[in-house]
Every structure is written in structure tokens, then in C-alpha cells.
């Protein structure tokens, strides 16, 4: 049995169902992210696990114990909020020690644990500061220490980094992941930033309109999206409209080229329309004989992103995006150029309608 189990969870807000038939099993020590667009129900699901919202129906079990009817302060859960939520009237040390003090632990034990936690978040020198004297990143680290000081069974984080600026966001997400691994704490992390989810998680739950669309490792989610929503939400994806030429041989036509996918297209007829998709990194500019498929088109626009240059090429009725590495000696391609793009047929994703 899994450590944290969520089964058939539903939540209605005045007639609208915002979480629909949500199922998830999280193993002990696992780091799971909820990824999805704004309003898809990530926070609501997390708040039901924390006990701040009552599910309309469904089961939440932590270590075999049904917690649905327990109050938040009886669930032994650590929570980190987007808005830091440090107690403004307490010092850093008092904030971190709050949970232990509430639990009536002896002072010596609290002091030792607070010192240990401040060591983990690398802020032992700020113990006597008040929250208003800290930067956002420091406040969020203190909030993490405060949540972990009571040794919760599950750690929940709701977009903890979205109020911070880009640099700190990257360094802090690495730090959070390192602390999580070190303590081996079961974690649910809510974010709408796919880079965050892909880089930190053991597994990702991609949510759409209150449902878990796909659950899988970052590798699976990115490379083997099972729904059109997941494919388009995670990463950049170029979709191309094509036609099935021979379903048994797996050949399709795109624009005026014919490409062999190399596998049978079940349940398709010759002449059927088919939607295909490509990741930018699967496509190269120019004719590359090592890759089996080639399409020609016109460059629509070029954006310079630093180390890479993203080029969008109009092919037939669609557009293919591709990334090439920036090389200071070669001038970048220009819009309007006629080009050929190449890719391996196996990298084409067939989208279910």
C-alpha cells in the first residue's frame, strides 16, 4: 500500500465540480508535482490533503489512516504557502520552533531542533531576525524549515517560488529538492511552471479542468504524452496536419512530402486526416540524411533566446518550431529563407483526437 493515497476525490464549489475523480498513490519519500494551468484545481486538491477544504466525496489516506475527517491541526502535515506566511511578530527562531512549542516539547529540544533546521536551510546567522528583515527567498526557506521542524508525515508546497525572481527561483528549487531528498519526506509540490515540475519531481501529475490527465515521470510526461492536452501544455509542440497514405506501412503525407512512421497505424483508413506533433529539439535545420524525414518550408520568424535560437518554419498549413544552437561565427537564419528541416520519423507524435 502506498504512503499517501487519494481515491475518487471530488470537490464541488456551489454546483461547479472543480476536482473530478482524482486518484493518486504516492510512495514514501517520493516527490510528486501537480502541474496544470491556472484554475485547474491544483490548490483545491492540495488543500483537501491539508484539511483546509472538505472533499465532497472520496478518500485520503496517509500511512493507512483515513484523514478526511481530521482537522488540519491533527493531520501532521507541513505546509508551505506562496505568500510565505511567517508570523510577523516572531523571530526566525520562534517561527521555526512554533510547531514544537505548540506541541509542548521541552525548551532544550526545541532549541536543538531549531538550530538543526536553520543549519539545513543555511540561515543559522539570521535566527534573531524578524521576517520583515529577510528577503523573499530567505523568508521562504524559513517557512520550509518551520514546516519541517515538526517532522510532518507529508510536506505540501503551493507554488512556493512564484513570488520570487527568476535566479532565486532556480537556486531555491534545487535547494528544496536537496533538503527533501536528505530528509526523505513525502512531498506534493504545486506549480504551474513546467520547468520547475520537470526538474524537481520523481513524478508529475498533469491536471486539466479538475482531472489528473496523466501521471508519470518527467521523462514520460515530456516524451510520451498520452493526451493532446499534456502534449501541448508541457513543452513546446508543433502540430502538423497530415493524411494517412498507407495505414499498414505507417506512411503519412505532410504537405508534399511522404514520411514513414515505421509502425502500423491501427484504426486508421487511407485518406484519413491525422494530427502529428514534433518537439523543437527533435528537428534540425537543413537536410540531414541521418534523419529519415525531410520537409521543406519558409522561415516565418526567428527568436534569439541566448544559447539557442528558436526558428519557426511554415510547412504546408502548419508551423514547425526548432531550436539550433547559437554560434557566434555563423549568422542566424533570416525570415523568408527557403529551408529544409529534418527529423527522425520515430519522433513524430500521433495525437489522439
Amino acid at each position: 500500500m502506498s504512503f499517501l493515497e487519494i481515491a475518487n476525490l471530488q470537490k464541488d464549489f456551489g454546483g461547479t465540480r472543480v476536482v473530478k475523480d482524482f486518484n493518486l498513490a504516492v510512495e514514501k519519500g517520493e516527490f510528486v508535482s501537480f502541474l496544470g494551468p491556472s484554475g485547474c484545481g491544483k490548490t483545491t486538491t492540495l488543500r483537501m490533503v491539508a484539511g483546509f477544504e472538505q472533499p465532497t466525496s472520496g478518500v485520503i489516506r496517509i500511512d493507512g489512516r483515513d484523514v478526511v475527517n481530521l482537522k488540519p491541526n491533527q493531520r501532521n502535515i507541513g505546509m508551505v504557502f506562496q505568500a510565505y506566511a511567517l508570523f510577523p511578530n516572531m523571530t526566525v527562531a520562534q517561527n521555526v520552533g512554533f510547531g514544537l512549542k505548540v506541541a509542548g516539547r521541552p525548551k532544550a529540544e526545541i532549541d536543538a531542533r531549531v538550530a538543526e533546521m536553520l543549519e539545513i536551510i543555511k540561515l543559522p546567522h539570521l535566527a534573531e531576525r524578524y521576517p520583515f528583515q529577510l528577503s523573499g527567498g530567505q523568508q521562504q526557506r524559513v517557512a520550509l524549515a518551520r514546516a519541517l521542524a515538526v517532522r510532518p508525515q507529508v510536506l505540501l508546497l503551493d507554488e512556493p517560488l512564484s513570488a520570487l525572481d527568476a535566479k532565486i527561483r532556480v537556486s531555491l528549487r534545487e535547494e528544496i529538492r536537496a533538503i527533501q531528498k536528505k530528509l526523505g519526506i513525502t512531498t506534493i509540490y504545486v506549480t504551474h511552471d513546467q520547468e520547475e515540475a520537470l526538474s524537481m519531481s520523481d513524478r508529475i501529475v498533469v491536471m486539466n479542468e479538475g482531472r489528473a490527465d496523466q501521471v508519470g515521470t518527467p521523462f514520460e510526461i515530456y516524451n510520451r504524452p498520452t493526451t493532446r492536452f499534456v502534449a501541448s501544455f508541457v513543452g513546446t509542440l508543433s502540430t502538423l496536419e497530415g493524411r494517412v497514405v498507407d495505414p499498414a506501412a505507417g506512411t503519412v503525407s505532410i504537405g508534399d512530402s511522404t514520411v514513414s512512421l515505421g509502425y502500423r497505424l491501427a484504426e486508421r483508413q487511407a485518406g484519413d486526416a491525422i494530427t502529428l506533433a514534433l518537439r523543437p529539439e527533435a528537428v534540425t535545420l537543413g537536410r540531414d540524411e541521418a534523419r529519415g524525414a525531410h520537409l521543406s518550408g519558409t522561415i516565418r520568424d526567428v527568436s534569439f533566446l541566448g544559447s539557442v535560437i528558436r526558428v519557426r518554419v511554415a510547412v504546408g498549413s502548419g508551423t514547425v518550431s526548432l531550436d539550433t544552437f547559437n554560434s557566434p561565427s555563423a549568422p542566424p537564419p533570416e525570415p523568408g529563407d527557403l529551408v529544409t528541416v529534418s527529423f527522425a520519423p520515430g519522433d513524430l507524435l500521433v495525437m489522439e483526437d
Binding site: 491539508a50 484539511g51 483546509f52 482537522k71 488540519p72 491541526n73 491533527q74 493531520r75 501532521n76 502535515i77 507541513g78 505546509m79 504557502f81 505568500a83 510565505y84 506566511a85 511567517l86 508570523f87 510577523p88 511578530n89 512554533f98 510547531g99 505548540v102 506541541a103 524578524y130 521576517p131 520583515f132 517557512a143 518551520r146 514546516a147 515538526v150
Partner: protein, 262 residues
């Protein structure tokens, strides 16, 4: 432009004169008890009067009781409304404003009717009961100020997230109130408390009609029977009120250094 400036200055000076001249007159008069020279005789006479000490002490005690009861009632109420019943806020705000439009005389007649010796809850039958009634009356009078002060204080913190953070750390309702909410609205509570203090010290109608030995009725009694002492008393009452206002300012400033907001 210039002319505009002139008129605004003129009106400002007229306004100040309107407030300050009577005050200066009162202070001047209060110093004239000894014929031919200024002295503090009137003040000594007032301060030495045992009735002054008794009534002032009584009113201070009532003010403190009112403040404590008010904080215990209003802080959790305002907190709860912000947290759980935000759509009730306009209604609650309207209720808290009622004491400003209903005269104290109406309130006190209502009290006397409801709680007289032949009623089901004869509070006016004993001194302690009447004190309690008077305290509730004072709480009502200070409600608009106290509620507004506390509500403003709560607005400055993220009540909901702080509550949830404390809850997830295992805190119960009382702990959250006492350790998280109250310390963060302390400045607001104190400024409400000083306003309450000023109101209670100067209040006349409730105390007089409930026949309690408070400072307000004493002020009136002296005013009717003496010449110089009332002026001195008025100056003292005025000084107390302004000291309260000054304390509000001081506390607010002091607070900024020890526990500022995010």
C-alpha cells in the same frame, strides 16, 4: 493662486482660534483662584477633593474593565468575520455604527426598563450588577472605535494564511488567537483601548442615570456649584484625553521598530 492661499490660511486660523480661544480662556480662568495673581490653587483644591479621587479611580477601573471585555469580545469576532464570514462584513459594520446614531439616553432607558428590580434579570438591584450594566453600556459606546481599530489591524496581516499556517503546525483556536492574531493587532487594540479610555472617563449620561459614582457626574456636580474648580477639572480632563491620543501615536511608532509588517 495667491488669493487662494490667503483664504485657506485665513480659514485655518479662524478654525484654530475657534478651538484654542475657549481653551486658553478656561486655562487662564482656572489659574485665577487667588485674587490678583496666577496660581494652581484651583488644581490643588480639585486634586485634594476625596470625591475627585474616588470618582476618578472608579472611572479608571470601569475603563480598564471595558477595555478588557471589549478586546475579548471584539478581537475574536472581527477575526472570525474576516476569516469565515466575509460577506457579513457590511452588516456587522453597520451594527457597530449604531451606537453613533442611537443616543446614550435611549440606551440607558432601555437598560433600566429591561434590567430593573422587577424584571427577570434585576441587574440594577445591586451595585455589582449596575457596574456590569454600565460596563456593557460603555462597551456599546466604544464599539464603533474599537471594532474599526481592530478590523484595520487585521487588514494589515494575511489573517487566512497565517491561521492556516498555524493550524498546519498543530495550533488550536485559542493558541492561534493568543499567539498569532492578538500580538499582530496589538497596536490597533491599544489605539482602540485609549479611545475607549477617553470615552469612559468623560461619559456622563449612562453613569448619571444608572446612578454610579463616576467622574462624569462629578464633573457636572462641581460645575454646578463652584467657580474656579470646574475650569481646572475641564483642563485636567482635556489633558487626559490628549495624553491618550499622544499614547496612541507613541505606541504606533514604538511598534514599528519591534515588529514591523511584511
Amino acid at each position: 493662486m495667491k488669493a487662494n492661499r490667503f483664504w485657506s490660511w485665513l480659514f485655518l486660523i479662524l478654525g484654530i482660534a475657534y478651538f484654542v480661544l475657549p481653551l486658553i480662556g478656561t486655562v487662564e480662568f482656572s489659574l485665577k483662584m487667588r485674587r490678583g495673581e496666577y496660581s494652581l490653587d484651583a488644581y490643588w483644591a480639585v486634586l485634594a477633593d476625596p470625591r475627585f479621587q474616588a470618582t476618578f479611580g472608579y472611572s479608571v477601573m470601569m475603563a480598564v474593565a471595558t477595555i478588557i471585555a471589549g478586546v475579548v469580545l471584539i478581537v475574536p469576532t472581527a477575526y472570525w468575520i474576516r476569516l469565515k464570514l466575509p460577506h457579513w462584513r457590511p452588516f456587522i459594520e453597520f451594527v457597530t455604527l449604531l451606537p453613533l446614531v442611537i443616543p446614550p439616553i435611549v440606551i440607558v432607558f432601555g437598560y433600566i426598563r429591561l434590567y430593573n428590580t422587577s424584571s427577570w434579570l434585576p441587574l440594577t438591584g445591586t451595585a455589582a450588577g449596575t457596574n456590569l450594566l454600565l460596563m456593557f453600556g460603555y462597551m456599546t459606546l466604544s464599539l464603533p472605535y474599537m471594532y474599526r481599530a481592530v478590523d484595520t489591524g487585521l487588514r494589515a496581516i494575511d489573517v487566512r494564511t497565517l491561521t492556516e499556517a498555524a493550524e498546519s503546525l498543530g495550533a488550536g483556536w485559542l493558541t492561534i488567537m493568543w499567539r498569532v492574531i492578538l500580538p499582530n493587532v496589538l497596536v490597533a487594540v491599544l489605539s482602540g483601548a485609549f479611545l475607549t479610555f477617553a470615552i469612559v472617563i468623560g461619559e456622563f449620561v449612562l453613569a448619571a442615570l444608572l446612578n454610579r459614582p463616576a467622574f462624569g457626574p462629578y464633573l457636572q456636580l462641581i460645575g454646578a456649584n463652584r467657580a474656579y474648580e470646574p475650569a481646572a477639572l475641564a483642563v485636567i480632563a482635556f489633558a487626559i484625553t490628549w495624553a491618550c491620543m499622544g499614547l496612541i501615536q507613541l505606541v504606533t511608532r514604538f511598534q514599528k521598530h519591534t515588529m514591523a509588517r511584511r
